[in-house]
Structure formats: C-alpha cells, structure tokens
C-alpha cells in the first residue's frame, strides 16, 4: 500500500506511454557502465559462440557485416528507472548466429571487451528476441554506448544488453554475471520489476 507524498503532483508523462512499473521516459540516452570504455579496433574485433569443448563459432567484423542485417525498433528499459521508446537499431539476429550451433545447454553467459559479463537464458536470445547491433538511430554505435557492437535484448532490463560484446558461452546451469553478482536480478524482466536480488 503506497503512502502519499505530501505536496507531490508529478508530471504523469507515463500515462501516455506504455512503460513498465517504476520507469520514466527520457529523451536522452544515459550511460551506465562499471569502468572505462574499452576502445576496440574493427580489425581486431571478433565475436564467438562457445557451445562446448571444441565447438566454437567465430566471426570477424567483415563476416558479421556480411550476414543479413535487420532493422529493429524497440523500447528500452534501464534498471536505473529510465526508459526510452521507439529506439532504432540495426544488426544481426542471434537466430542467424545460432543457426549452426548444436547444444543442449539452456543458459548463456555473454562476454564483453573489458571483462563485463551478464547471464541470459538461451530461450531469451532466440526467436527474434535478440541481436548483435552495430548501428543506433542510423549511425555507427558510439563506444560509450557499446560500440562497435553490443547485444540488444530489449525485453529484459538494459544491463543484459551487454556493451562491447565479443562472445556468448553456453552453460548447463544459470550462473550470475557481473551485475548479477553485484546486486541485480538473475533474470531482469522489467514488466515484473525484477531489478534487484
């Protein structure tokens, strides 16, 4: 039962947009990260899926760009309470990347340049729910926002959309990544407000 805050009226911007509980709209694009922004050269960039011993699938930047690119328009929701609606991205669907991957694993750990990790169930990466994106609003993705490429998995809180992504490792059990070890939820569904432990 909420306690009224004396004298607070608010702006009610949320009424017009369909936002998850506890979120507010922003026009900006705030940045949340834990340390310095890694600078990754495209010629050094690679992305790999590690499905098990001896089963690694790897793409260079050129190989990734040669795959079918999809345009995605979606709302994004940060655990720090801001949401941004109608953002546009361009990148490769994880369905494309997982096409030839054989595995019984149900969980994944997403890895990034700089050492960041985050865990996402495999089902949440497939069936048109996740992409490796390299463009935001029609421009190459800036490094502060995760460029050259980040994961986009917009139905979960945005810390799951790992910046500077460089790989996905399949796991038999669900293990916590970086923020999940530091106070954030293992799954992170914004509509169920799964922010913290």
């Amino acid at each position: 039962m909420a306690v009224p805050t004396s004298g607070f009226t608010g702006r009610r911007q949320n009424r017009d947009a369909d936002l998850p509980p506890g979120q507010y709209l922003t026009d900006g694009f705030p940045v949340m990260s834990a340390g310095p922004t890694p600078q990754v050269l495209l010629r050094d960039w690679s992305f790999q899926i590690v499905a098990g011993p001896g089963e690694t699938h790897q793409w260079t930047w050129e190989q990734m760009q040669a795959l079918p690119q999809e345009d995605v328009t979606t709302d994004i929701h940060c655990v720090t309470h801001w949401s941004k609606v109608g953002t546009t991205w361009r990148g490769v669907s994880l369905d494309t990347l997982f096409e030839d991957v054989e595995s019984e694993a149900e969980y994944t750990m997403v890895h990034s340049y700089g050492g960041y990790t985050t865990n996402v169930p495999l089902d949440d990466l497939l069936d048109g729910k996740a992409w490796i994106v390299s463009e935001f609003e029609g421009e190459p993705l800036q490094s502060a926002h995760g460029g050259p490429a980040r994961l986009l998995v917009p139905h979960l809180y945005f810390w799951k959309s790992a910046k500077w992504v460089n790989g996905i490792r399949l796991m038999d059990q669900d293990l916590p990544g970086f923020w999940e070890t530091n106070g954030y939820n293992m799954y992170g569904d914004p509509w169920r407000e799964e922010r913290y432990w």
Binding site: A2, F8, G10, V31, T37, W82
Partner: protein
Amino acid sequence: MRRSWQVAEVSAVRAETARARTLRLRFPDMVAGVPGQHVDLRLTADDGYQAVRSYSVAAWVPPRELELTVEELDDGEVSPFLVDVLAVGDQLEVRGPVGGWFTWTPDRAGPLQLIAGGSGVVPLMAMLRSHSEARSAVPARLLYSVRSPDHVFYRGELDVIGQEDPQVVIDIAYSREAPDGRPVGRLTHEAVTASCFPPEDEPVIYICGSTGFVEAVAAWLVDDGHDADRIRTERYGG
C-alpha cells in the same frame, strides 16, 4: 538490502547550494549500507500516480538515518520537488540500499582516489566520510570539479577534512568561475594527472559525474597507465 518499500520520515534538510540540498531520512528500524550505494525513492501523488528515482547515499547516520543530496534538474519531475517542496516531517517511501560494485569500505587495499564532477561528489563523499570516521591510514585524494565556488557541496566539511586529516588531500577544480588566485577552466588531462596518485601506487579509483566527464577522465587515466580493472565509474544522466 530490503526488497520492500519502507516509509522514512524527513528528519532534517540542509541547503548545499542554491539548487541542491541534503535530506536526512529517518527509518522505523535500523538501516545500514556501504559507501557508494544508492537507494530508490518512490513518490505518490494523491490520485495514486507514482514516480521512482535512484539517489546516491551521501552519509550513513547509524542506527536509523541516512542522508541524500539532491540537485535540482532544469526539466526534472522529482528533483525540484525534493529540493524546493519536501519539508521536515514529510514521508517518503525508500527501497534499498542497492549496489555492490561502486562501493568502497576502509578494508579495501590501496590508496583511494576519488574524482567527482559536479553532483557526482555525493557517493564519493560517503566514501570520504567513511575513510575519515574509520581514521583510515590509507592515503586518499579527492579531485572535485565544479562550475564555481557557489556550486561546491559540503564546503565546510571538506575544508575540515582537508585540513585535519593528514591522509587526505582535497583538490577543487573550477571550470567557469574561481576564487581569487585560483585557475579557472575546463578540467584537463594534465590537471587530472597532477591531482591523482601515480599508476605505480596502484590506487583504487572511483569516478562519478556526467557521462562526458566520466568518459574523458577514465580515458585519460587509462592513457596514464592506470589499470582499467582498478577504475570504477558511475554516471548520472537522463
């Protein structure tokens, strides 16, 4: 942390600058946390409309209180209310504390380097206060970049810590307007290098400020040879 919302009462308010003030909140039960953590505040209008925001804790005041410092944003929905309207005795709902990464406790090894841009000083002040209260023998430095002398939070307390704690050095850098005899201008790479422990001292570094500030300062420190693993950042915005 507490997952549920708790009702806290505003027990004191204190102006920090013309547009920022510190709120002291008192809880019905004990409240404890670590320097650098934040809490969520939930405000509810008469008709049930709610807004939630996160604010860094500036001070832990055992056993039942904590302090937040809030700066009013020009187009803010919540911060103008917290700075201009909320009064002693009013109630707020609070959840937390939250956060396990951008935190420092006196048992952490290595010199402590704090770098703040504007209101980014708030979580770093919680660390500095903890350092002082613990009479830590760890050397600590705060580099605090502000627009003008009128924008400095915790002025009196910073002066006291800087003068009385032999382990602490505080540098304030002024970007738009400075006191007589002090340099003025945007923070430069050289100034940051000069105010920081060198890489060979292996300091643990905490940077908090706007995205542009944090991006620039963190990149300079990596350039200087500081290990990225020892640099922790937090940004505000939106």
